[in-house]
Symmetry: D2
Subunit: 433 residues, 4 copies
Amino acid sequence: MRIPGDAIPFIRAGIPCLGPAEIPSPLPSAHLDADIDANRVLLSPYLSNWRENAEEPLSYELAGPRNKLFFDPSTVRAAIVTCGGLCPGINDVIRSLVITLHDLYGAREVYGIRYGFRGLVEGHDLSPMHLDPLAIEPISNEGGSFLGSSRDRQNPRETVDFLQKRGIDILFVIGGDGTQKSALEIAKEAESRGYPLSVVGLPKTIDNDIGLVEKTFGFDTAVSIATEVLRGAHVEARGGPNGLFIVKLMGRQSGFLATHAAIASGDVNFVLVPEIPFDLEGEAGLFSLVRKRIELRGHALLAVAEGVAEKIENIGGDNRVGWDVGDYLALRFTEYFRSQPAPARVRYIDPSYIVRSVPANSVDSIFCQNLAHHAVHAAMSGRTRMLVATCNRVYCHIPLDAVVLEKRFVDPEGLLWRSALETTGQPACMVNP
Amino acid sequence: MRIPGDAIPFIRAGIPCLGPAEIPSPLPSAHLDADIDANRVLLSPYLSNWRENAEEPLSYELAGPRNKLFFDPSTVRAAIVTCGGLCPGINDVIRSLVITLHDLYGAREVYGIRYGFRGLVEGHDLSPMHLDPLAIEPISNEGGSFLGSSRDRQNPRETVDFLQKRGIDILFVIGGDGTQKSALEIAKEAESRGYPLSVVGLPKTIDNDIGLVEKTFGFDTAVSIATEVLRGAHVEARGGPNGLFIVKLMGRQSGFLATHAAIASGDVNFVLVPEIPFDLEGEAGLFSLVRKRIELRGHALLAVAEGVAEKIENIGGDNRVGWDVGDYLALRFTEYFRSQPAPARVRYIDPSYIVRSVPANSVDSIFCQNLAHHAVHAAMSGRTRMLVATCNRVYCHIPLDAVVLEKRFVDPEGLLWRSALETTGQPACMVNP
Amino acid sequence: MRIPGDAIPFIRAGIPCLGPAEIPSPLPSAHLDADIDANRVLLSPYLSNWRENAEEPLSYELAGPRNKLFFDPSTVRAAIVTCGGLCPGINDVIRSLVITLHDLYGAREVYGIRYGFRGLVEGHDLSPMHLDPLAIEPISNEGGSFLGSSRDRQNPRETVDFLQKRGIDILFVIGGDGTQKSALEIAKEAESRGYPLSVVGLPKTIDNDIGLVEKTFGFDTAVSIATEVLRGAHVEARGGPNGLFIVKLMGRQSGFLATHAAIASGDVNFVLVPEIPFDLEGEAGLFSLVRKRIELRGHALLAVAEGVAEKIENIGGDNRVGWDVGDYLALRFTEYFRSQPAPARVRYIDPSYIVRSVPANSVDSIFCQNLAHHAVHAAMSGRTRMLVATCNRVYCHIPLDAVVLEKRFVDPEGLLWRSALETTGQPACMVNP
Amino acid sequence: MRIPGDAIPFIRAGIPCLGPAEIPSPLPSAHLDADIDANRVLLSPYLSNWRENAEEPLSYELAGPRNKLFFDPSTVRAAIVTCGGLCPGINDVIRSLVITLHDLYGAREVYGIRYGFRGLVEGHDLSPMHLDPLAIEPISNEGGSFLGSSRDRQNPRETVDFLQKRGIDILFVIGGDGTQKSALEIAKEAESRGYPLSVVGLPKTIDNDIGLVEKTFGFDTAVSIATEVLRGAHVEARGGPNGLFIVKLMGRQSGFLATHAAIASGDVNFVLVPEIPFDLEGEAGLFSLVRKRIELRGHALLAVAEGVAEKIENIGGDNRVGWDVGDYLALRFTEYFRSQPAPARVRYIDPSYIVRSVPANSVDSIFCQNLAHHAVHAAMSGRTRMLVATCNRVYCHIPLDAVVLEKRFVDPEGLLWRSALETTGQPACMVNP
């Protein structure tokens, strides 16, 4: 994974703390590891990295419960907010945050913020909900967000006013790239006031493109649903003469979902992602390649990441279709095949909401619970301006300042894209010379 | 179910036979019922019908194996064609036709026609596939059509030329309303030539609207997938502020799928079908009702049958969106809410291909097998111009001449629609006075 | 379906009413059908039945809302009890009873009885739960019974004491054969006291064997899960040399579930049900037939209904295995193959709880809602000693006195068993001459 | 992960090669990385490991295609064998091995061995199947093993005779711990004969306990199915009074599956694994803890790994139940509760075959494809005595000699077990003082 150069000072500086942790943890000793702070996880698991670093290599603090806490569990007030689009596993995270705070630490003041940052400013008539294990029991097997989400952004000053007025000590922020930027602003605003607010992020985005985060929760589930949709599209393409089916998958700037689903399905012939340039026309272009494939086999299946729209020149020329790459491609292919001897049945499927709204599968469910456990442990110890994630499969704390600098992209030279080329059989280069 | 007046003579006339059935059936006697032709199934299971019919009431011939066959199983040639859009269970029907012909009757000449009626005329380079149990083994758990389907219509004369040239004795036609009309024309054309061709239909359409047919295969599976899509849409609608989600479901002239899925989901607030008129504007209209619902509960879910498009006045005024009722409603709602104090997040989901391409569930799988068994039994006995279906859950033979007269519609006074009203809570009348 | 001779007087007598229905229904007129009592549904949809009945044939009263009620909706008190083993759809029925009573009739006093009849006598500290739409919201997508169930039987006098003390007007009884017998005793006990209690049954049993009831709710879902288990067993049988897999399915006296699942799976080679005798040993017996199948194809799959245990002679000879037909067959087959040249890998799968605990699929969900709607309509009109069910797909009222006389069985001459023979390929007779 | 001391020399020695790789790879240059051998992956991603290693730390060779091959793709002969119990994903691995060999390298001689090692010796009449992309097309979405598997062990000399006689160059061995031991013996036997056979293992076991391997394929899928079974068991336990449900999950020596599924389900109250000792009786023992839980909440759910049987003292005292820990626990709990004031409904579920026979989910499907790609790349380059796996999520080559030394176990001090304690709420110590 690429480490932006300006992230390095933040990574070396480590996670900020609100103050000394002096309150003994109520956790049983079997749950605690006294030496946890004596070890760290390396950013890179490669030997080349070892050899190149004369001095100490980059590493993150390990996640896990600490012996001493900054906040008193009997009085601490925590709030949970979910922002951005839906994603499988949000409810698992909410539920596990509540249960860990309540059952493990004995915290009684846990609040759920309604509809994202909109519920963190005055004037929307959206009071925070008091949460306890009973209140959240029904949500375990459901998709969506129990609290409601929104894409609203708010003034960090108003948000901190809101939190401070209600005596909130900890804010858990479940969201993607943009949301974590807002979380960082909130943390800075609180800091500037001397208000000891712990802000801890949990990485949620179906695009799986948060900087420095190797996997966001819900992504595995999304891949499995997207794979089912691709299977159906393949059945349809094959089910009649010259079927060309186009499936749009989420990914505004990164094509992780489209690429993973294309590999898993095994039926996709072409996968288009924002990271890899391609031409539509010409000998090396998509139209010609798809036509040849249909002539050869009678059908074709395309998976396209939504963010490809911005990469296609002139796609905005026609206002109506400009906003949707699937509509655009379906139109252009229909036109293209009109001039060909054999026409194609061009169809477009946009499963977006179907992929986002399902409950988390069991792997994601375990992942969500672990992220939530560790977010609570970190916050109770007084850490802030951080995000909980895994690095080389080890749970750790990543500074928010480093996370928000740059998104993560599919590496055209990496294993993932190479697997996609091997599975789809599409040429590595689809650009005319 | 409504019985069209002009269907009655055909029903009373019974199923045409190609000639006397004189060849003993190879089936074991445990499979045979010597008295099968002594009984029939009533079209109406109601006592009122009993009382009103002084003379004998309307009834259908029972399906099932006969003691004597018209065709010699050792030499009979059968062909299978699948037409129209995909639908869960097509492969189960194909597989079961082949296995019944092959294993039960010992027939060895079974052919699969490629891509619907297109494969039944010369000049497309689509040779029929020879089918036996080994060839069709892999298709059992797959969606789609192993043979390929198409919506093509062909000249019945050319089709009969094609069949006659290849010595086909039986044609199994898997398809909907329009397909069965073509099947009837083929049967008539063969008859006019004195060519003893048995044409037997199997009722396939995801709209479930074939005349006189109480249920088409694949419909239950389609309802279950549509219900899952509605569940996801509900999760999304509820997952953010003022969510209004519109889900379009199949049904060009009849709203069976939308109505069943709306009842099964329990989350739909309004279901729109072509059979029930409604206004968009005005106090009793949809816009106002949806707005009130959102004000009250914060979200709303609409299921709309595609055929509603033709019922909305002026929907064709704008060429671009005219063809899709979901796009149209999403646009109109967005405009409507623009002028309201609280805006709504309007989203539109079109799961069409996802609903059609899945494999049949177990109930449909049993149904498909029974239809196929009975279609083979009927054809081997020399029956023709008929369709296999159930009536009051009893498998029977229905004359194609009666089937094609009129589609089936949701009865606004019937139990199905009343259940939909009770489950959704939508008013019985959404038309302004 | 067989109609027991002693059921006929009860069927002709019709459904008892607690008294004149004089209170106008609060339902909107679009939901009401003034002529509902002018029509009835025939028990038999066959023409032969028509011809044989000089006088009027047997028929049931139609289900549906009535214009006039016996109970005042504003004061009526209803209780719901779920008895016996779990079954998919119980929660859908509970939820729909509550919503229909509450939202359609405006009833406010609805109670849920805990853990079956155990919760209907004093002394168990199991107070009835007050139910309203909010209380039952989370249960829609969950398997099991929200109220808890049990197999307890209780003295009907104590039960009626309990109900009378709490002023209950309506008791909805969700359960199978034995439960409906108890429901009938409760109704009789109340009647003998002059206590106007409406007792309305809803047919629940995964065995699908309630007398006169063509389908119990949850059965379709159970078939689909059982079919998945059979698919897995087939994969395992085929996955190694000479695999013989035995899957036990529910059905203490009737083999409906095993038979339906065997047909739906298409992979089962032998299905054993209590209704059809078979030998284990000898030329025509199971051992020999299974051995030949394995020699031919390398694997075999058996589905066996649990009730077969009672049909196997001497199965009780060994106390340990006597209670489980699957253990017994696995043991006997292992012994048998020990003396054969080629051994078999004999494995036994008992998926019982897995089949019972899943949520209802969408077809069952619609069915559950309709049963619940009609149960409420019937009870509010003052009807009692009845069960809601379908007959020839028409919802109707069946007298409890007729229901409890005899269980329903798989007909060895009927279509279902013939389909099973055609699909499995097993011989019609597996008894030595 | 624990690294056995005697594995270190093998890890440092690296992967043996059959000879110099001098044939240019036919892969397009976009798929190749010229510097692949200049880098390696670290066994431990922890900083502590870094600090402790004055000299170079332990690392594995990276997986991936090499520029030069040892075998000539146009003549190479490869065989694939699947051993041991079924596991989700076997067919994905077979399919991907065949497609990679055939489509990427142009190899035409690929054979599938029937029924495990049994098919690798003479005398069983099990000829290897010729495999090409067409032959394996139907297996993509199916569970099980297309080739058949068995638990047979064979004399390595006979196996090498068999392979040598047929001129096999590469043997891909899909299996667990024991299977990989046999693979190593085969490799050694070939080496001793100077027969250049490449033996490459792929790590398959549903127990996820292969030494040095962080995850075996199919494990994620197995966890998700096991989680569904636990959900059903929870529904059943809660569905009646005092339900105690015991679910046995696979894991003969390691409790990974039981532990993961318990965490994912969130409903398990006690999870028993071979790695963690516990008492049945006494104040700290299981019986007492379960009783208290049932008194408090009315139901309890236990997940138990099958290998726990060997840890329970005297479990073999009674021959009949000794072999199954689930039967044993159910019996003992039934006895225990007989002497308690409130009895419990004790039920036992053994879903074994259901968990193993399903198709791989999409995450596993991608994993299987990557393992297969890398196994082919490694074998073609002439590497042998190795296994393909991931280490810190990086695909790499692990020496078979190191893999077979020791199984992998759940670490009682590690994150996984701590998560299990947090999720279940069971005490860290269940042993009486």
